[in-house]
């Protein structure tokens, strides 16, 4: 599936339009009074000289509005414009909906436009390339089970240098949490697994990594392939039911939470809109660890450098975990400086909605619209930016270079590891290690 050869199938467009032609979409399309409050809410609009073409109201009226008006009878040039708007000018961050007096969910409508573009074979290559991987390997980066298990063993070995008896349990039935991860952790950042294992060991958690349904990301959702997106999330639910875990734990990833907890049940046809197994995000769990004293922070190790917290849209605004994130940061840092605006009103980093995996072709735009986030960070004068989202992490690292911010970008895990108290009985004993080899 590439962007180069497309054949427009109007009946498919009509099918998607008809399926979504309920009271919700109809009233949203007709009720929007073009008041422009959404425009100022959108970082694309702000970063692009307040060009009205970047106003969310324009974006959905121009695409979905026109599609309904023309009853799907559109040409290729128009669809390419839709493609450009749906992926290149919107990260589905939902900030505009907070400012809309009618509460119109513009992101939901752009998501429909993405589905329509997908049905015509028109999606960014970076996302298209992940789809066969989901089909064949069950994760977006074509990681084999063998690689996953071997990486877990490797990281458990490394983690034992820091903390005694660290193991990474695989496929353990009856564990409390099924820890689902981003394949990026296995491929590019295995230390993240080692850090998670250390935290869980210190907190004496019962957890396991599954060998199927372990990828909590869902780029099929962002690619507009709802059928595959449903399969991806259902594989995770099924595995959790099979292992009889109490909850699915999501790693520090934003859109994984949106997929698993909120959109997933609908994508996988759970009609009550609830996941069959409770979904817990790492931010919530780490907050509980610190609140309940299962992880103790060493006051002498608390971070003195100025720190700011990047609210990932899908963790803070869309999953309501903004205070939990801040509580953790306050517990581990002495000088916390909030960005402005913050919490549920925080701007998207500019890498969400599939923007980062869309890769090089979209890099320039990503850097340009990320200016808002870069300025927010610069204004705090922070030296460390914490973000509990892999996607923000990558975008912030890129922004750091592009705008010369001079900050260190970290995940929550990294700082928790740096500051937590390792109980005496878990400190590695070099003598016995020598003997074990």
């Amino acid at each position: 599936m590439t962007e180069n050869n497309i054949k427009i199938d109007i009946s498919k467009i009509r099918e998607i339009l008809d399926k979504n032609n309920g009271a919700r979409i109809r009233s949203w399309l007709s009720i929007c009074s073009r008041c422009g409050l959404c425009a100022e809410a959108c970082f694309f609009f702000l970063a692009n000289d307040k060009n009205p073409k970047y106003a969310p109201a324009y974006k959905f009226q121009r695409t979905l509005g026109t599609l309904y008006k023309k009853k799907g009878k559109v040409d290729e040039a128009f669809l390419r414009e839709c493609h450009d708007i749906a992926w290149g000018e919107c990260t589905l961050c939902k900030r505009c909906s907070l400012y809309c007096p009618f509460g119109i969910d513009i992101a939901a409508m752009i998501a429909i436009v993405r589905s329509i573009c997908f049905s015509q074979g028109l999606i960014p290559e970076g996302l298209a390339r992940t789809l066969p991987n989901y089909e064949q390997f069950g994760n977006q980066m074509a990681v084999t089970v063998e690689d996953l298990v071997e990486t877990c063993e490797w990281m458990a070995e490394e983690a034992r240098d820091e903390i005694k008896n660290v193991t990474i349990p695989i496929d353990t039935s009856g564990a409390k949490y099924m820890y689902t991860i981003n394949p990026r952790e296995v491929m590019f950042y295995p230390q993240d697994l080692a850090m998670a294992a250390q935290i869980f060991t210190v907190a004496e958690e019962s957890w396991t990594i599954p060998t199927t349904g372990w990828d909590c990301t869902n780029l099929a959702m962002y690619a507009g392939n709802k059928e595959l997106a449903g399969k991806v999330v259902d594989a995770m639910y099924k595995k959790a039911l099979e292992l009889e875990v109490e909850a699915i734990l999501i790693t520090e990833c934003g859109h994984a939470m949106r997929s698993a907890a909120y959109e997933g049940p609908y994508l996988a046809n759970y009609r009550n809109g609830k996941p069959p197994v409770p979904i817990v995000h790492s931010v919530q769990l780490f907050y509980e660890y610190i609140r309940d004293g299962r992880i103790k922070i060493d006051p002498s190790k608390k971070i003195d450098l100025p720190v700011t917290y990047q609210d990932p849209c899908n963790v803070s605004r869309n999953a309501g975990l903004w205070e939990q994130g801040r509580e953790i940061v306050r517990a581990i840092c002495n000088d916390f400086r909030d960005m402005s605006p913050n919490r549920d009103h925080n701007h998207c980093c500019g890498g969400g909605g599939g923007f980062i995996p869309m890769g090089g072709p979209y890099r320039k735009r990503r850097m340009r619209s990320g200016r808002i986030k870069a300025e927010q960070i610069r204004a705090t004068e922070a030296k460390i930016v914490i973000s509990p989202c892999h996607n923000c992490y990558d975008q912030l690292n890129d922004l750091n270079k592009e705008y010369d911010l001079g900050v260190r970008v970290v995940s929550l895990k990294e700082l928790i590891i740096e500051t937590m108290v390792v109980p005496e009985h878990l400190k590695p004993n070099p003598e016995s290690q020598n003997e074990e080899g």
């Binding site: 290559e125 970076g126 390339r129 992940t130 980066m141 690689d147 071997e150 990486t151 490797w154 490394e158 990026r184 491929m187 590019f188 950042y189 295995p190 980062i356 995996p357 869309m358 890769g359 090089g360 892999h390 996607n391 990558d394 890129d398 070099p430 003598e431 020598n434 003997e435 074990e436 080899g437």
Partner: protein, 231 residues
């Protein structure tokens, strides 16, 4: 005080570390008895070392050796290649020639190749394997060549190198000290250094790592050291 080698606590009335036996040499004022005791500890430690699990793993593998040579696609790693070939010949090992195409973003499948940024497709890997095979086979023409295999992957180089070494259970990794990221800013032989990949691999590898520098670099290292001493 704590032992400077292993951080073990040393009691005030003792002259050496009872855990790692500290120095190899005997100090001038060291009593005969202490030195002998130290010697005993060192011997016991060595027995422990060769009996350890990893050694046992390698003993079982001694039938077939594997040398992992990591190339950075620049002629500067030829010195490391020569060392790897010599080693492989010497111990009749299989030589794995390995290159990792670096991922531009830690998220997407895009990689950097000689032709610029592209997607990691089968064609890219096939092309790379073919050219590596050609380049290194040509070097071994008319010479007894060890058994060779060319492998390529994409990702973060040090992660993929350690992963490969673990997976193949190689006996040794041979690689150059650093590579260049930007071909426009080539090697600065005046400034010898150890790159991130070499650093991480040597710290985390499951086997010994040989880092082979070019004679030019060694020379500049000497110059730098002596310049540093003059100051």
């Amino acid at each position: 005080m704590n032992c400077p080698i292993c951080n073990n606590t040393i009691n005030e009335n003792e002259t050496f570390c009872r855990k790692c036996a500290w120095s190899i040499l005997r100090a001038d004022n060291e009593p005969e008895q202490d030195y002998e005791e130290r010697f005993k500890i060192a011997k016991k430690n060595w027995e422990r070392l060769i009996a350890c699990e990893c050694e046992a793993r390698y003993r079982h593998l001694h039938k077939e050796h594997k040398i992992l040579f990591c190339t950075d696609l620049y002629a500067s790693s030829d010195y490391a290649f020569k060392a790897a070939v010599d080693l492989a010949r010497e111990c009749d090992a299989e030589l794995i020639i390995y290159h990792v195409l670096e991922s531009r973003h830690r998220y997407s499948g895009q990689i950097i190749t000689a032709d610029g940024e592209t997607w990691a497709s089968k064609e890219v890997f096939d092309k790379l394997r073919t050219s590596l095979q050609k380049y290194y086979s040509a070097k071994l023409e008319n010479q007894p060549a060890p058994k060779m295999r060319v492998e390529a992957r994409s990702g973060i180089p040090w992660i993929e190198i350690v992963r490969m070494a673990r997976k193949e259970k190689v006996d040794m990794i041979v690689m150059g000290p650093y590579s260049i990221r930007d071909p426009k800013n080539g090697f600065d032989l005046e400034k010898p250094r150890l790159g991130e990949t070499a650093k991480q691999v040597s710290l985390r590898a499951p086997c010994p790592v040989a880092i082979v520098t070019s004679p030019d670099q060694r020379l500049s290292l000497e110059q730098q050291t002596s310049a540093g001493e003059e100051k």
